[in-house]
Amino acid sequence: MHFLLILGFAIGFLMAVAIGANDAANSMATAVGAKAITPRQAILIAGVLEFVGATFFGKQVTETIRKGIVDPAKLSSSDIVVIGSMAALLGAAIWIFLATKYGLPVSTTHSIVGGMIGYGIAAAGWSVVNWDKVITVTISWVLSPIVGLIFAFVMFKLLSALILHSDDPVKSTKIWAPVFISSAFVIIGFSFGFKVMHVSSWADASIYGVGFGVVALVGSIWYVLSILKKAQGDEYKKVEEVFRMAQVFTSSYVALAHGANDVANAIAPVAAIYIALQTGKVTATATIPRYILAIGGLGIALGVWLFGRKVMTTVGEKLTELTNTRGFVIDFSTATVVLGASNFGMPISTTHTVVGSVLGVGFARGVGSVNLGLLLEIVASWFFTVPAAAVVSYIFFYILKFIFL
């Protein structure tokens, strides 16, 4: 059985590497495209923040996948949890590999949830699956691109009204850009309060939220003024220059949020295997050691480091029509929705949230051309990925059961 733990760590780690390699572009692409930072700097920032996000903010989503989809307490033994979690991991990984090979829309989040459902049904039938939770998670999948879209639309219109449509856009940038930037830190501060400092009330968390926000406000006022002092060109160029550099903050925010949400896709089944082997019981009460999350974070960071540069450079070159104010709004919306979902323990697709945010700015006539067809791909992903990963996981459960039990 310990062989399965080592194998689980290896596959989970590889999956984390794959997540880092593929999805890292989602976080830093706009900043690289805007030439605010070089791909090398983006890798460094993304690597560190993905790791921080995974390690410090990734626990709740990981818990949802580990024990929210399949109730371990309803399984007959810890061995079933071990081979079942392994089957879920293999099911998700193989489905992602096949889907990527054939160019099908695929989400690691949906795959792992499908994998967990598949093993649950194979192990103890339909009743072992916590369908209420599955429905909640599914609703969060539907809502995340929609919320991203609405958030980005409203935020872009707000930024337009306060800055771009003002009589003096440069003066308005001095006032409002620090507010926009620091509001990201307020949200991070709240998450820090809840997830790292483990405060239990909104009032206590708001100490961290306001604290982070005030420090960021002071820093961003200084930053905005110093950028504007050097900025050249007409007033809109100056505004864009401020947001070009601000995109480094929002891209970092996406990296942090992505790490927090997506680490679970690779590490939740590994955590389930680890806890089952450590305790020898089918229990839902044991908590995930932080170092397991850190291993997942390390895997994501390694994926960013090994493969992210090529992805970011290629993607960045294609984002020429995305101006900095638009890139800022897209990143801000995506990160806020993803981090918000993580705080509620909802495993959502960062990619789908990015699509929603871009479409939001598109509907606000903020970008030249946006592909609405991706909405169909998202819907297709909801309908195909979960059942497909569940079937693969179901089959693997019986194979592993035959070998090990």
Binding site: N22, L164, L359, G368
Partner: protein, 221 residues
């Protein structure tokens, strides 16, 4: 393929519309030179060739725009508006090309009075095209500012300026036409028909430019 690759359609059609317009304007810059060479009886084949080349470049952009307008994509302007816009803007460069071709068919020596009237007409066309160039550049600000009222206002002012120039051009065409028909007893009828054709083609440039201005106005909403 990353999600970013799929999300955006590559080059923005509005940017291509602007590039196309700037090529059209460059072609219009050659009209006064073309006329001066024509009236001086000099060889203007080099200028005509330059105009034909610009027309080809404009055509290539027009085709590219049609190629990049994908189904299922959301654009800043309606797809049919973009196609219609590029059609009317392309008509300008086609007419400039036609003007160069017509000039190559026949040479008519004009008295200074008529030559000045024609020069005035061509200068007016060039002025109108300069305003179009400004309007196209302003369009970038309109988009960058997310259709800020003051930028839209500036754009509409330029559109209005083009309309005023078009009416000035109508006067200049009428003025030349009046002179032309006054020559019915002295000028070769073929030359009269030739000059009539030439001046009407040039006046159509102004009409086409005004159509572009109207289109910009309607696209601003």
């Amino acid at each position: 393929m990353s999600v970013w690759d799929k999300l955006f359609g590559g080059t923005s059609p509005v940017e291509l519309m602007i590039q196309h317009g700037l090529i059209v304007e460059r072609a219009s810059d050659l009209l006064p030179i073309l006329w001066r060479k024509y009236i001086a009886g000099e060889d203007f084949s080099d200028i005509a060739k330059e105009i034909y080349d610009l027309e080809s470049q404009a055509d290539a952009i027009k085709l590219e725009i049609r190629k990049i307008l994908h189904r299922g994509f959301l654009y800043r302007f309606e797809k049919h508006d973009i196609i219609e816009y590029i059609r009317v803007q392309d008509r300008i460069v086609d007419l400039i090309e036609d003007t160069a071709k017509i000039m190559g068919l026949n040479y008519v020596e004009l008295p200074e009075e008529a030559s000045k009237k024609m020069e005035n007409l061509i200068d007016c066309i060039e002025n109108m095209m300069d305003v179009l160039k400004k309007a196209l550049k302003e369009l970038r600000n309109v988009l960058e500012s997310d259709f800020a009222r003051r930028e839209v206002g500036k754009e509409r002012q330029l559109v209005e300026e083009m309309a005023q120039l078009e009416s000035k051009i109508d006067d200049a065409v009428y003025d030349f036409g009046k002179w032309l028909y006054a020559q019915k007893n002295t000028m070769n009828p073929v030359d009269i028909m030739f000059l009539r054709n030439l001046v009407l083609t040039i006046s159509h440039i102004a009409d086409a430019t005004e159509n572009v201005a109207d289109k910009i106005n309607s696209m601003l909403g």
